[in-house]
Amino acid sequence: MQVASTRLTITLALGLTLAAPAALAQKGQTVKIGWIDPLSGLMAPVGQNQIKSYQFIAEHFNRGNAAGVKFEMVPIDNKLSPQESTNAVKSLIDQGVRYIVQGNGSGAALAIMDAVQKHNERNPGKEVVYINYAAVDPDLTNSKCSYWHFRLDADTSMKMEALTTFMKDQKDIKKVYLINQNYSHGQQVSRFAKEMIAAKRPDVQVVGDDLHPLAQVRDFAPYVAKIKAAGADTVLTGNWGSDLTLLVKAASDAGLNVKFLTYYASVTGTPTALGAAAADRVYMVAYANSNMPGEIGKLADQFKAKFNDDYYTLATYHAFQMLATAMAQAKTTDAAKVAATMEGLKFKSFNGEVEMRKADHQLQQGLYITVWKKADAKNPYSVENTGYNFQTVKYYEPYVASTPTSCQMKRP
């Protein structure tokens, strides 16, 4: 027994030595990325676009990346439910997946974070990393922060910071109406909007603050009537997917002629509902605009040519770029080591260099305020073939939108 194991050790050591000249131990390995998001229900169009985006960008990175690894997506439909997400995590781990991405719904995000945290505590050596590409509840990187969670989108506090900084110069905004989805994300948007507007534009009045059920409302006419009755000149909403599409549709039906300050107006379905009627009135705060220059812009054009759909979840690019950079640095695909490398990692992005802040695992990146405008020679992209797109009004460097964290990170 003793002899056998010694021999085994020698063989292994030899194997490793032989492999060493290749320098990158991880080279050629296939990294499975578990994807947990809705593929059914009202938000299915969003999930479908995003899994296509992931697969498309994975193909791009498979043609060449810093670490020399191959990425493979393993999608699971969570029906937007936290419960289903927890099951999906278990199922992915059983399939040998060590990297999980998710973005739609902070409720589901929290459930995944919890499941991953517990799994990693109980199974040392088989750690799983969770990359959150779109769930923006600030709690995820503050009071509830976890070592295994990395967020690529800017959280609500950061987006609101940029949005309210922008509002400082918009003197025609006087009465703001808040309408949001009734779950952690929407509640946080409402909370931060009230706090930051009070701090930066104390003259602005918040004339309404509504929370409606997530992905269930099909008729927003009553809400629109309420917004009108309140005399608002601006509507601020963190709504996404059908909840924003239908709100915009109802608003244009009722002739509600106000500004919209949004988070997710570029998400599937909404641009079509915006159409020409909403031109120059709908603003969006995001980490990109419709006409990104360079490689990412070309990718968006290829995506359009291939799927006749829009590539709007640019965080997918960050996900692979971050993983490939970290894996190349750590010289392994082992999730625990890659996680340690990703802490504080700086990597090249489509808006310059971005940093995964060590304190709370929140990506620090520049933010754009864009407006829905007719496409022109300078900004030619046609979102959902409407002939319109989101054009930059203002760009904020990472430090402007950066917000402090209260995260007390527990490291393993």
Binding site: L42, P222, K226
Partner: protein, 338 residues
């Protein structure tokens, strides 16, 4: 004031759309004892078929053809499937419609995709039907179509969309013709007689199964008509059946199973109940404060007390359902118990 009018109109129009759906459901139930779980699916098929036909023959022919086609599908389903399981009792009937709703959902997703389709109303139905103009000095007035910008700059304008006005018009026309059909025509008399005394009607030489098929088909056609109109007004997507599915059962139960008048009253009631409370930002705590009680975050039950009516609005129809089942199981205008 102007917004209150708009709100009531919104409530009435969504109530009338519900009536288009629930009238068919309640007719089918009263006649065949079948609670058709797939009823909302026919609503969805109506919207999608209407969408596809609009691309071929234009909207107005599609508005007529789509319900007819959905009616034929419904009749075909009754003839080939429902009638076969009829002899096994109500549970298999219920289950087969339940199964059908899933089959329809999957087929719709395969044929038209999982994403919403852009089903736009025709030019005639786009834009506002009328504009309510509320000005400080002359009070509330009404302008057909869109009011001029000059007028709206001086006063507060609220538009009521044409699609909703059209929805109300169609529903009212349908109510009228349904009532005439059931009470003033021979076929209506046969249908009414088959409701209560099928054996007697059969003995008189009428083909009762065919009458059933006709009613099932017509009920589905009505749902299809509602689908086309609902599709252009709201959104045409695979979840549209699920969204209205639960609420039309509430309507049918609240109105009284099998009662057409009950379905009408309940539809309007639910339509208003879905709309009006959304605009009220007051909570139980506010009401108690008005009565002079000291209520604050330390009061027991504060998390419940502070919920505003607007937040509680989505559960109100279901709360009504539960209350009706407890206190008046036969429904508002129902005739039979339980």
């Amino acid at each position: 004031m102007d917004q209150t009018v708009i709100n009531v109109l919104n409530g009435l129009s969504s109530g009338l759309l519900l009536f288009m759906l629930s009238s068919g459901l309640t007719l089918i139930f009263s006649m065949m004892g079948v609670l058709n779980f797939a009823h909302a699916s026919f609503y969805m098929i109506g919207a999608y078929v209407g969408f596809s036909l609009t691309g071929i023959v234009g909207f107005w022919p599609a508005l007529v053809l789509a319900p007819l086609l959905v009616g034929l599908l419904g009749a075909g389903f009754e003839r080939t499937s429902l009638r076969r399981v009829h002899k096994f009792g109500h549970v298999p009937e219920l289950l087969i419609t339940f199964g059908l709703s899933y089959v329809v959902l999957e087929i719709v997703q395969i044929v038209w995709g999982r994403t919403p389709v852009t089903f736009d109303p025709p030019a005639f139905l786009q834009g506002p039907a009328f504009t309510l103009v509320q000005s400080g000095d002359s009070g509330l007035s009404l302008a057909l179509g869109a009011a001029s910008d000059a007028l709206c700059q001086a006063a507060k304008c609220s538009r009521f969309p044409m699609t909703r006005a059209f929805m109300m018009l169609v529903a009212l026309l349908m109510l009228l013709s349904l009532w005439l059909l059931l009470t003033r025509t021979r076929i209506g008399l046969v249908i009414q007689a088959s409701l209560t005394h099928p054996e007697m009607v059969e003995a008189l030489g009428h083909n009762v199964p065919r009458v059933f098929m006709l009613v099932f088909g017509s009920g589905c056609a009505l749902a299809g008509l509602a689908g086309v109109i609902g599709g252009i007004t709201f959104i045409t997507e695979p979840a549209m059946a699920a969204v209205v599915g639960s609420i039309i059962f509430v309507v049918v139960v609240v109105g009284g199973m099998g009662s057409l008048a009950g379905a009408f009253v309940a539809s309007i009631l639910i339509g208003l109940l879905q709309t009006l409370p959304l605009t009220v930002d007051a909570s139980l705590a506010d009401a108690m404060k008005l009565l002079g009680a000291q209520v604050g975050p330390t009061t027991p039950g504060w998390p419940l007390l502070r919920i505003t009516l607007a937040q509680a609005a989505p559960i109100l129809p279901y709360l009504l359902l539960v209350l009706i089942l407890i206190f008046r199981p036969k429904g508002l205008l129902g005739t039979r118990e339980g």
